[in-house]
């Protein structure tokens, strides 16, 4: 499993990456692997508000439905639309091509409460025990 150092992580297995005044959000390598083949994704629309810790969408694999939780509060400014036709991209490339939404963040201090790579790895280790 791969957990890039430039990302921040949630305990619900989303990642986010700061890009100017926005953050890019997706799900982690661990999450895509645990879900299995992803066959459907439901994302918000540009302009929709998202709130830290609240559901912003749904991802479904061949067997399971899983909610997506926003790591930050703000407004959706971009959505990875090609995912709706090619949800398997999330399995193949969860951190780059498989990104889900970009959020214009109100308060970047929110990111301080998220996990760094080491803390996230420790968390999934503990979760699996």
């Amino acid at each position: 499993m791969n957990y890039p150092d430039d990302l921040k992580y949630t305990k619900e297995h989303e990642w986010c990456r700061v890009k100017g005044n926005r953050v890019v959000v997706g799900i982690t390598d661990h999450a895509q692997d645990a879900l299995g083949d992803i066959v459907y994704v439901e994302l918000p629309e540009v302009g929709d508000p998202v709130k830290k810790g609240e559901a912003f969408g749904v991802v479904e694999s061949t067997k399971a439905v899983s909610e997506l939780f926003s790591p930050v509060t703000g407004k959706v400014v971009e959505v990875n639309d090609p995912l709706s036709d090619a949800p398997e991209t999330i399995n193949e490339d969860p951190y780059e091509e498989g990104w889900m939404i970009q959020v214009e963040v109100a308060d970047f201090k929110e990111l301080d409460t998220l996990l760094d790579t080491a803390a996230y790895q420790k968390f999934i280790q503990e979760e699996s025990e």
Partner: protein, 363 residues
């Protein structure tokens, strides 16, 4: 206590992802459900189905006794032939759907669902009408080799002439030195075989098949692919699509209910239901809007719940969102439309002919 099949160690060592299903710790997938699904449709897949149960009827009263508990007509089933049907309660409710392997009129093997092993045995034993009924579930291992390449793979390991074993026929024979009941049956819609062997022999048989099928791209498969394959064929799954409160007529299994064969458990109730007309029917549908419907979602007509989805998935072969649902008869005809409540969003659906998937004509 979660139960394990004789192949449990094999799955774990191979790195399969294990989940609990009907009280069994089973592989849900090896590499991935989509790849396994495609392997079975295009080449071959091997499944551990040892969690299925085997209840055997023996003795001079075996055939007569099972006939009185089974909705299909075993007098039309020859020795060496298998037959699908249901076991019903007096009420017509389904105890289980099963496949009966008729070895002779005095020796019939009933293959039952994993979740119903004990229930079925208790039911059958309790209504045996003089037959000797034994629960042999723990003694048997069961492997399903499925897919268009299944016959050539299996033929390398057995002297049984497989071309003479027709669909829903079976024979005794050795496969890779293991005594088996070799049946041309399955739950995927593809050609293939189910092999019943002694539980202790299952790991050896599994290893031999995996090895023999390697050049053909045979893959070990888990329950995830088993479920998507069966749903593309609209094969019912007990516990999801039907249970003790549904009848085979409602579940669309009227073709295995032989009301004219003479008395059998549930016949009077089913006859009555047939005459009175059904209040709900299981139909196949596709979503015409994005989403995936799942077991338990409500069927809506004009915004009101009128039925229930019992199975749903995205069909890997068709790329469509497919499902089975109980709906009122007025919505059961092909082309009827309704909506499915997917987490509060109404997604449009259309009734279609089943099976959803039609086998490709092979060159």
């Amino acid at each position: 206590m979660v139960q394990r099949t004789p192949l449990h160690d094999v799955h774990v060592r191979a790195g399969a992802r294990m989940v609990e299903f009907a009280g069994w710790d089973m592989p849900v997938q090896y590499e991935g459900i989509l790849a396994e699904h495609a392997a079975v449709r295009e080449r071959a897949g091997l499944f551990d189905v040892s969690h299925m149960g085997e209840v055997v009827f023996r003795g001079p009263k075996a055939l007569e006794s099972l006939q009185r508990l089974f909705t299909n007509d075993l007098s039309r089933c020859q020795d060496g032939q298998a037959q699908y049907g249901a076991l019903c309660r007096e009420s017509g409710g389904i105890v289980d759907d099963v496949v009966v392997y008729r070895r002779s009129a005095e020796d019939l093997l009933v293959c039952v669902n994993a979740s119903n092993r004990q229930k079925d045995y208790d039911w059958l034993h309790g209504h045996a009408f003089g037959a000797e009924v034994t629960n042999e579930s723990d003694a048997w291992g069961q492997l399903a080799l499925q897919g268009p390449r299944a016959p050539e793979i299996l033929q390398r390991l057995t002297s049984v002439r497989l071309s003479s074993v027709g669909t829903y026929r079976f024979t005794d024979g050795e496969v890779a030195g293991v005594r088996c009941l070799v049946a041309r049956t399955g739950y995927t819609g593809e050609d293939g075989f189910e092999l019943f062997c002694a539980a202790a022999d299952a790991p050896r048989l599994w290893a031999s098949l995996i090895e023999a099928g390697r050049p053909d791209g045979l893959r070990p498969c888990g329950l995830g692919a088993r479920d998507s394959l069966r749903l593309e064929m609209a094969y019912r799954l007990y516990g999801s699509d039907m249970d003790d409160a549904t009848t085979p007529l409602e579940a669309g299994l009227g073709w295995v209910v032989k009301l004219d064969k003479g008395a059998f458990m549930g016949r009077d109730a089913l006859l009555k239901q047939k005459e009175a007309g059904l209040s709900r029917k299981l139909v196949g549908f596709v979503l015409t809007e994005p989403g995936i419907s799942r077991h338990g979602h409500a069927v809506l007509q004009d915004g009101k719940p009128v039925g229930t989805v019992t199975s749903g998935t995205r069909s890997p072969s068709l790329g469509l969102s497919i499902g089975l649902a109980y709906v009122p008869p007025a919505l059961a005809a092909e082309g009827s439309t309704f909506a499915v409540d997917i987490r509060g969003r109404a997604a449009a659906a259309k009734v279609v002919k089943t099976p959803f998937y039609a086998k490709k004509t092979r060159a």
